[in-house]
Symmetry: D2
Subunit: 347 residues, 4 copies
């Protein structure tokens, strides 16, 4: 349920409503937009609540949100959310275009630092790299754990890029959170609700990758878990779904970008590396993602993909990554909508 | 099996090989490329054939094609195929960008002619429109049949655009072929092999739309049917696959564009109208298709989508179509590869 | 729209309603059930029609069918349809259990006749065998065409079994219809609407196999095409859908049996040969199909699967087919519902 | 890598091999089968290892396992695994048929105890019930947590049935493990590798439900995680995959039963409640699961499905569950293979 405040309503009005809700075991989430102030009501809504609220001072309108997600919905918050990453507050969303790049896995300091410097030089904004790796087989390389986090920290200092890295367990959130500027929830953990709850308790931005068989609704609901737990800084990432096609590792679903944008105010990024699983398809799909209106990209880059300990087949060399950035930048420059986004649709 | 001729081989050498093959119940398909002359051998290959051919005059190399499709493969023919449409020989493939646009179904002369003129003005190259409509329900509007073809002809004359229209039955190929400049095979008929055989006997270009659950291999094999039947003028169209996602009508699979391009020399077009089923998503996905390297687009346009007899929800108004063309043109202008295609991949 | 006649209504009442409809450009399909007489109204329903019909003599109730299919729906016809096959009128549906068995493709008279005799001895009711074969590749064996049909005829005479065989093109319906007791529409042609229309004009029973990505609704609508064209003798066959799983050729969807039974009165058969693509899985899935309430099975059997010209990997030997029949018969004997169908569901 | 010991080899031979492996940083998992003793080698295999091991005393044969999973494979262990549940050591696998039944969620003591007694009376072997519930929306009922576990304990004591219940987080494994006789890993957590590792450290049997888009290989690898972590008591559960079909909640894939049985020695159970999402389809699919050779069933039962706090639409009443058990028992009685399993396949 949403309470839209009247123009001219006061902070005191809002406070009284919050108090009214708390007394009834409900929570309120405030969204102070440019044009309107909105309160989202969370918890078990009872029959008379709408009537009660409509009679309170400062209240303009009270209505139910039609979607199962509330805080993540455009109905609750119409303006694009801009998430800020790291101490330099690198923005993502709201017309900015933000590129996360780096190796699949942190293998060594040299590999990570050289990659960080190379992707920074080519124009990337955030360094990615896995220290805790989810692998289908228990016998595959599962990461360097805290040693990997330390290497990422060094690479961050050397390059000036903030860090995104995956966290796989609620127990590791505190540890990973000490190093990471963005906590990544992997596709396989998209419905690991304990983990979503836990990262929601931090104040670190969270990237929620779409599960392999998650509908748009499932995916936004996963973001809603983080938000309902208290953390509104969520980035969504399309990384390919599982279909019958086996030529590609997954099927990158670029329809998701305009579809989810119309449903949610959260920034949406595309991952053509996992989305295709083939390095020679990464650049064309990155270009397509820019053209379809994504808020950014996340790309796997490795100094020598042939010897990478994971995902070598989909990793770009430094040279190819630089070429990708040029192509993407050229496309972004043509985007004619407000904030460099396609607007021809008249949505 | 493929016979690559030696540099300096003669037409007489080729003729002798063809004769040798015919005597053994086999067929040959000649591809006279810029750099090399290649003969594709069709039919049941027997053990000694390779040895026999390697000994013949003018033969450079003989090898098996590793893919189940032969004539459609890059191994057989490395250069992009350029298909020419209609009496003005509108090109598609090989770096050209070709837009097919028009109503889902031909409803009336006025609707079709005004649409033809509008899409032509906005920059479309070919008029689309259905006279024979495949509909999931037998009770839906199934088209105007020959009356519809006649209307298309009028619209073609008024606008100067050649026509693409669907043919659904081998029995109708002759009739539809009298009007159409491109014969369209719909997604539901992609494995209607009798129909593929039949259109392969004509000399009219054929568009093969990808079936809803067709792998890239299935789809190229459908093109191979047409080619094996004698018609090499085939265009492939990605129009969305069926996945678990229900928000969109289908899931437009843009990965198909670079993937199929690496496997086949045939031109590949994207259909964001059927691929998404929602008009407000058509322009962003059209832009993405241009950026990913498609050879063209096929777009549903209607003077008044709200009253369209089919697919109104995914049809663009004239105004929105013109805006789409502007956005797509701007993106095409940035494409830095040879022939305006992404080349950063280093494929 | 459905018109349910009042108890005690006369044939004259029905005739007058039909006349009323015809005068308005509509068609009527009569279903004379045990408990009630129902008229299905086909065509474009106009606003006042319901009122007009309710006032006519003999009419009990008039209501719209909520599903897009009409004639195939349980709402129109509550009793199970029993289709009768061949001159001996082998029944299928309504509690009978009917087994179609034979080779994927007719290869020779000996192969077909010995198989026919073997499957008949093991308890099969209908001989299957392909003379026109839909193959993904144009270079695969595509059948013996009319020679194959003649062989089937011989095998039918030798074994006493009626024949089911596939027809792939509207042009072949007359030819195949001269030999076949059931016309099979393959999965790839499930939405070949010209073909569905054409077989609907015959009085030969039609088996409609489910398309690889057809929903239950799509599939029943394909049957509706045949029925709307005039032929009510339709059998549905579940033969596996396309999913992400690659271990099996397709994913046999046994959920379809009780689901479609609740939606339609038509008999439903399972095809575990295509559904799994692995011979060692055919018998367990056939047993499951019997247990879930299928009206029958269609099974590929070959004298020597290792040398079969198509689908050898999924074909059973005579011995294994006989063992399958024993296992299935034992399960059928335990079925405790009316007509040997599971009824514990209380549906 | 697998070391098959020679007949007549001694425990001392095995001990020496284990020592050899430990010194090289590798682990060994012993499988003392009826016919042969096998050692699975876990860790990074180096080039000369095979030669070294083949020369050691008592060693018969050394070979690599072709599948990515080792301990779970039939190659490592040919005999069916029988898992024993609870203090009464209820067996599952190896020819036993074991039924898990109970409510989706524990709602109250009365609801849980009455259900436990009812399902026990009807023949169920294990009580199921969720205290920690994974829900797509954060606003849905998420369980009674430890209070729910206590209620399950009471219901277990009253009914004499052991308990299966879900654990969602590594942090909760200790707590849930104090109450549960089987730890359930839900479909959404199938690739929550931290959780798999953690339950692998306990000595409580673990049920691994198949993920919505998990291939057979992914699924067996999830079991391998638990086994590689030290716990060999794993049960697999097929609960439906996500496909394009929307009539059912999921698509129960009964092909999985014979397929996975041929690949792994672990017991496999079917969950027709989640697999279909519709109560009227549960019994037919349960019958099919029994017929296809499942080692058991897991069924949702509720005293009053209409008021259930979760999954009411797929829950059976006590009466319908009793009828299901009768139908399933009748089918099981006909199974003619060794250990009541289909054997006609000659696998």
């Amino acid at each position: 349920m949403i309470v839209v405040m009247r123009t001219g309503s006061t902070e005191e009005d809002v406070r009284r409503i919050e108090e009214h809700l708390h007394e009834r075991g409900l929570n309120a989430q405030l969204n102070q937009g440019v044009e309107r102030t909105v309160l989202g009501v969370l918890g078990e809504i009872y029959e008379d609540l709408k009537d009660e609220l409509e009679l309170m001072q400062g209240v303009g309108e009270v209505f139910r949100i039609s979607k199962p997600y509330k805080l993540a919905s455009r109905e609750f918050k119409n303006e694009d959310t801009v998430v800020h990453i790291g101490k330099d507050r690198v923005p993502i969303g709201g017309g900015h275009f933000t590129v996360f790049a780096g190796p699949c896995a942190v293998e060594s300091e040299e590999q990570t630092v050289t990659t960080a410097i190379a992707v920074k030089k080519a124009g990337a904004n955030v360094l990615r790299g896995g220290a805790f790796k989810p692998r289908s087989s228990p016998y595959s390389f599962r990461g360097l754990f805290e040693d990997g986090l330390k290497i990422l920290k060094t690479a961050s200092e050397e390059s000036g890029l903030p860090i995104i890295t995956e966290v796989m367990s609620p127990r590791d959130v505190e540890l990973v959170g000490r190093y990471a500027d963005v906590l990544q929830i992997g596709a396989r953990n998209m419905q690991n609700f304990s983990l979503l709850d836990e990262v929601g308790l931090t104040d670190i931005p969270v990237m929620v990758k779409r599960g392999m068989s998650a509908t748009y609704e499932d995916w936004i609901l996963a973001a809603e878990y983080v938000m309902a737990s208290g953390n509104q800084q969520v980035i969504l990432t399309e990384r390919g779904i599982r279909t019958f096609e086996t030529y590609t590792r997954n099927t990158l679903d670029l329809n998701a970008i305009p579809a989810v944008r119309s449903l949610s105010h959260l920034p949406i990024v595309a991952d053509p590396s996992h989305g295709t699983g083939k390095w020679h398809m990464v650049t064309p799909l990155a270009m397509a993602a820019a053209a379809v209106g994504a808020d950014g990209l996340i790309i796997e880059v490795h100094p020598n993909p042939d010897v990478a300990r994971c995902d070598g087949a989909q990793s770009l060399t430094f040279e190819n990554f630089a070429a990708l950035m040029d192509s993407v930048t050229a496309i972004r420059a043509t985007m004619n909508g407000p904030q460099g986004r396609p607007d021809a649709s008249g949505l």
